[in-house]
Assembly symmetry: C2
């Protein structure tokens, strides 16, 4: 499958018009989120690795070129240009795991305008999915308050690409692992699983099913106890736990997937402990999200591990980010970059080549961000790093484990209210006076001159 053709038709039609009318033009595009979704105080950047691979490998296949030719829309000269297409520009980006806010560019592309345009669809699609899931998953992880969270979302994510990236993004956000074997293989993420109700139903009775499973995996059995009657299931799991104990094995856990998790988990904990099975972990699953987990823990649920699926893997309360890719400057006939901006009602953008400055106080805590002009001498950590220079990738991913650590060590430097899942805290993102003034001057100019 030719992923290079995964683009909106208009990227190519605009590119052909540029090819004819603006062959020399260069431009800068910002990829950013216009507004944070409800319930989100911050977002977690995710998707850069795939974007770099995409840019590096962009090459239309012969059959894709034939397909485009068959549309009768494109000139032979332009198709030939596409055939030899190689990205030659610069890309600045926030590293994966970085925390970001509305209006802050996550990716900034400066390149021949055709090249920058052709990347649009894939860049948006990739950052949208991966950052949406990472930003949801980090909330689930925070709500679990140091308990283990597993990604169990494969069956309800949007296709196989989403399933893989839900596993990777939620791992980066702090999940402990995933149920998804292919994600485990591709990304080196720990994988985990329990058993399904169908397994219990396939045997003459529950105890037989537990025994078969425990005999097959004496070192790693998590028994699902709610198929018929949960308290009875717990009793059967204890029988198996004691049986394994005699054979010098530890039953890994039991799983509660329905009913009142608070009272059932307390009951299970007491019964397991009484039976001398203190080491047996209690898993909870079943339509969980950050609010339900917080509530369970506040009400004293004795849960060690959470399996979270649908709500996390689809970022159900905000399945997409308001992510856009906007031109911020373009060269004039002499090759000089001129700032650009839209004036559409409620969709006005910030012009010019920008940088995000994150200001720290004396104790190393972040106090505010400033969206300014690149090269403007502002204090603070500059969040956009060069990842591609003249078409060459210069960023090396530290790998998912390091990114995962970075996400949380980074998060610890923000005011603690940021981590409150209520999402009410607003971290200050200021606009530098220079950028503010550029925008107001340009806006006035446009109103006067450009419209006609």
């Amino acid at each position: 499958m030719d992923k290079s053709l995964l683009l909106d038709l208009y990227e190519l039609t605009m590119a052909q018009a540029y090819f004819v009318y603006k062959p020399q033009a260069r431009a800068t595009f910002d990829l950013f989120v216009r507004r944070l979704p409800k319930n989100r105080s911050f977002l977690v950047a995710c998707g850069l690795e795939d974007i770099l691979q995409y840019i590096k490998n962009w090459k239309l296949s012969a059959s894709s070129l034939d397909y485009l030719r068959s549309l009768g829309t494109f000139s032979e000269e332009f198709l030939e240009y596409l055939c030899g297409f190689k990205f030659s520009g610069d890309v600045f980006a926030m590293p994966e795991g970085e925390i970001f806010f509305a209006d802050e560019p996550v990716i900034r592309v400066t390149a021949p305008i055709i090249e920058a345009q052709i990347l649009e669809s894939f860049l948006l699609n990739t950052i949208n999915l991966q950052s949406a899931i990472a930003s949801k998953a980090v909330r689930v992880v925070l709500s679990a308050n140091k308990r283990v969270v597993f990604d169990f979302s494969l069956r309800r994510t949007h296709g196989f690409d989403a399933a893989l990236h839900a596993a990777r993004s939620s791992y980066i956000a702090g999940c402990y692992g995933t149920s998804n074997c292919l994600a485990g293989k591709l990304y080196g993420i720990p994988i985990a699983g329990t058993m399904a109700h169908s397994f219990v139903l396939a045997f003459k009775n529950e105890l037989d099913s537990f025994l078969a499973y425990a005999e097959t995996f004496p070192k790693r059995s998590v028994l699902l106890v709610d198929t018929y009657d949960t308290k009875n299931g717990i009793k059967n799991a204890i029988t198996i736990g004691l049986y394994l104990k005699e054979k010098k094995y530890n039953l890994s856990g039991i799983r509660l997937d329905s009913g009142d998790i608070v009272s059932l988990s307390k009951y299970a904990r007491v019964m397991l402990d009484k039976a001398g099975l203190k080491y047996v972990k209690i898993f909870a699953s079943g339509n969980l999200d950050e609010f339900k987990i917080r509530d369970l823990l506040r009400r004293g649920a004795c849960v060690d591990n959470f399996g979270v699926g649908t709500n996390m893997g689809t970022s159900i309360d905000a399945p997409s980010l308001d992510v856009i890719y906007k031109i911020s400057e373009v060269t004039d006939a002499s090759g000089k970059f001129i700032p650009a901006m839209k004036l559409s009602k409620a969709k006005v953008t910030y012009p010019g080549r920008k940088q995000v400055f994150r200001v720290q106080n004396n104790s190393g805590k972040f106090t505010r961000d400033i969206l300014g002009i690149a090269g403007e001498g502002l204090p603070g950590k500059q969040l956009l790093k060069k990842v591609i220079g003249r078409g060459r990738i210069i960023y090396k991913s530290p790998g998912v484990k390091k990114i995962r650590e970075f996400t949380h060590s980074n998060l610890d430097k923000f005011p603690s209210s940021l981590k409150n899942i209520s999402g009410k805290y607003k971290y200050p993102v200021l606009i530098s006076p220079k950028l503010r003034s550029l925008r107001s001057v340009l806006s006035q100019q446009l109103r006067n001159n450009k419209i006609n």
Copy 2:
């Protein structure tokens, strides 16, 4: 990438336990949706074609087998079994485009229990995505009341697999085409596009940008008129429309992407008509969904074509279906199928091998569905058709165009209230007396005998 490894770890651990303890067991699994999401009166089945390909091509790669071996969880005998795995069972399914309701099996698998189990994750993931999007898109199409709807969702769908299937599913649901070039190529769907704000911004002024585009694509230009000032944009588009007319070309359309679409579209229609450009279509886009489209049309918006993205391509109000895969019968030691069911609170399922019977009245209209036992002599069209027999695919997809026609000709046979996007209408789905009695007898038996 080895899609055969795209499964939850527990599918494989359960499979290994079956391999040891139930090597001869056969079982039937139903894939169905437990509850319709809010705003949905019905769902559209979609995803079968990918499922058939998946089953046909299932083969773990050498590196996937190595990965599984490296986990230290699986026996060599079982890995060898996996290496030679070939699905040998029967699959019944609703054809793509079929209308279905809660509790009705969309897929029914009868096979050696290991084989049926291993399919679970992929089957759920596939039906979930594709049916969720088709079921959302059909609502958007219905709300547009015969006007043209395009899928513009690529940039906000969950990864590339979702982007492709959003295009295909929404086409099946009645969209006219997609902006997604790769989907156009792979599925033979019409593709379409307009221009972006960045294109307008890249030129000295709006009129220059329109002219460059129109000169490049005189036969297929849709001009985006809201970058600076929409009324002025419409004026500029008319200038281009008249210029093209002189050269014997028709301007295809203008696009409104912000502001008050009702008044702007009325204004544009009047101005275009006055200028002798009655044939120029008006496109509307910008965060549309079925409710906004209905509202625009009720308020008299003069829109011919709608471009719908995020809300449709993520099925934003219901990004996942409550789709599950449940065992309904399993063989005993003698090889006889015995019905199975869960008793978990609020998650009780229907046992036995089932069929969905759709009853028609004398004028060919559907009046109700009956969920019954397969082979039960009930009246009506049987919705589950055999698609795989003893491992061999016997279903031939009619292709997306025919499926698209089927969706709507089929929908026309339901009571017209079904098509109301309020989602309040409840189509009657009855349970046959035989199935009801099987469930109650089995439920009693389980309570008495099986739990302990």
